[in-house]
Amino acid sequence: MRHWRKLLRVLHRDIGYLAVGLTLIYGISGIAVNHIADWNPNYSIQKTTIVLDSIPKHLGKDEMTTFILQAIGETGNVKNSFRPSPNELEIFVEGNTISVNYDTKTVTQEKFNPRFFIKETNDLHLNKPKGIWTYIADLFAVALMFLALTGLFILKGKNGITGRGAWLTAVGFLIPLIFWYIFYG
């Protein structure tokens, strides 16, 4: 019995060490994507709008693109351009999308930058790499369940699963059960 508990403790400790990095990645990303309604968890986006004095509507797409880029001082690499309607033009520059409205003479710039580290954690959390990462994430999920279950039996006595541990574990189960009841009951 003592050997059995000791083995659990050793496995819990070593697998716990292995899981620290991934737990932090999934935890950080979990908070980030949980609030997706309030912010963009992957990119910081700055939108600015200016109104030009005049826009020479007669210009062709390429000439208009050159005119607008000069007017706003954008020197980035132009990837392409598109006309969503006869009175609108969109210019795609590396890290910047420029929308032009010929009627209102407004030029809106949308500059975006990936959020350092958080985007990378989100990519892993949401399994963007696919392939082998799918299996690593599965292993991590199994490891977390193992840590949860072995954690129940690390201590014995009044702070173990037969005492305080039982109550706290029950509370842990009750939290999702109460929410299920409220939302689906």
């Binding site: 997706i36 963009n40 992957n42 986006i45 392409n80 598109f82």
Partner: protein
């Protein structure tokens, strides 16, 4: 050591050339051989409804928060088609805007009521962080999209 370095450089060059030729792949492998113009799909919706097609065009918009759709410019001026993927199956980064995509998906004709369009536009505005005036939608309409299966972006 020198041999390893030379081999590494050759491998990197080969993979770079291969990547440049093929582009970045998303989702399922492209299996449809013949491309169809977006304008042809939109002009003949009943003929293509439910069919798996391959289109090519410029990416003019991306779902900013979830990367769950892109909009592809048509061969016809002022026309575009949404390529919608199931959440999490494919995640398009914002950097693909302005690049060319070869996209395979199921063409879908969708008939929406006014209320459904308002709800969609509200959701879209929330996703894109833009403002939306519900009174700008006065009636229902029929829209077209591709249910995204796979894409190659160059």
């Amino acid at each position: 050591m020198k041999k390893i370095s030379v081999t590494t450089v050759i491998l990197v060059l080969i993979s770079t050339v291969a990547f440049a030729q093929n582009g970045k792949k998303y989702g399922e492998k492209i299996s449809v051989k013949e491309k169809t113009n977006i304008s042809t799909l939109v002009a003949n919706p009943d003929k293509y409804d439910g069919k798996t097609v391959l289109v090519e065009g410029l990416i003019v918009d991306v779902c900013e928060k979830r990367g769950c759709w892109i909009e592809i410019a048509s061969d016809k001026e002022f026309q575009k088609l949404r390529f919608k993927v199931d959440d999490g199956v494919i995640i398009f980064p914002m950097e693909v805007k302005g690049k060319t995509v070869l996209a395979q998906g199921i063409f879908e004709k969708q008939v929406f009521t006014k209320e459904q369009l308002i709800e969609q536009a509200k959701h879209h505005a929330e996703e894109q962080g833009t403002k939306f005036n519900p009174s700008s939608i006065t009636e229902g309409k029929t829209t077209y999209r591709l249910k995204g299966l796979g894409a190659v972006i160059r």
